[in-house]
């Protein structure tokens, strides 16, 4: 089955979510990511959702889980690129994703991580 590619950006990792995720894919991503954080001693993870036109509670939970796992492995997670319609819908849905940092785009996300780790 497919895997979601994880790119390395210096001391950070970048994951771009583009497809409609399902259970297996999500679990595989969490597995790959946690292993890679450890293998590369990554200090930060950027999750780019600018291509997602919808985020439901399953996705929200998955993002929250990734953030939690990363934190335990001493890495910080930043969620970037949420579309306005998705943000409005998530708020209405009652999901505010506490504990997950956010940034407008990858560039800002990297700035945020660098500041936090300085």
């Amino acid at each position: 089955m497919d895997r979601i590619p994880i790119l390395r950006m210096g001391e950070f990792l970048l994951v771009t979510l583009q497809v409609d995720m399902h259970d297996q894919l999500a679990l595989r991503l969490q597995d790959d990511l946690t292993h890679m954080i450890q293998a590369k001693s990554a200090k930060g993870v950027l999750i780019d959702i600018s291509a997602l036109e919808m985020v439901d509670s399953f996705m929200g939970r998955m993002i929250g889980d990734i953030s939690g796992m990363a934190r335990i492995l001493d890495a910080r997670t930043v969620l970037v690129g949420m579309q306005p319609a998705v943000a409005i819908t998530l708020v209405e849905l009652g999901l505010s994703l506490p504990g997950v940092d956010t940034a407008l785009n990858v560039e800002r996300g990297v700035q945020l991580l660098k500041r936090a780790l300085a």
Partner: protein, 135 residues
Amino acid sequence: MATVCSAGELPIKSQQDIVLGRQAVRRMAQQQGFSLVDQTKLVTAASELARNALTYGGGGELKWEMLVDGAKRGVRLVFEDHGPGIADIEQAMTDGWTSGHGLGLGLTGARRLVNEFELQSTVGVGTRVTIARWK
């Protein structure tokens, strides 16, 4: 009185079905002229309910209708499964029930995103959730 312009049925038997179902609902919402935010709300609600039907209901069907009522255009979706059913509907509808996981959040969340929401469930028989969103 609302008239049905077109209707159909889609299976919810696999993860792939959920993906296809979402895409179909997105198209319907676009066809009815919903704004981007309203489209997203309906698709997200559909995603929640489809996942519920698959994960907790063991699979089922999505029956859809595109409606017209005078100047208003709408989409009605019925998610039906033949699973265990919900014993205590009221509890299922309370946010805190599953503390952010599973059935509870999906149902209450979906309800907030649509204009019409109806839930019927019989233990041992199945669950039917009907939602509708209007432009």
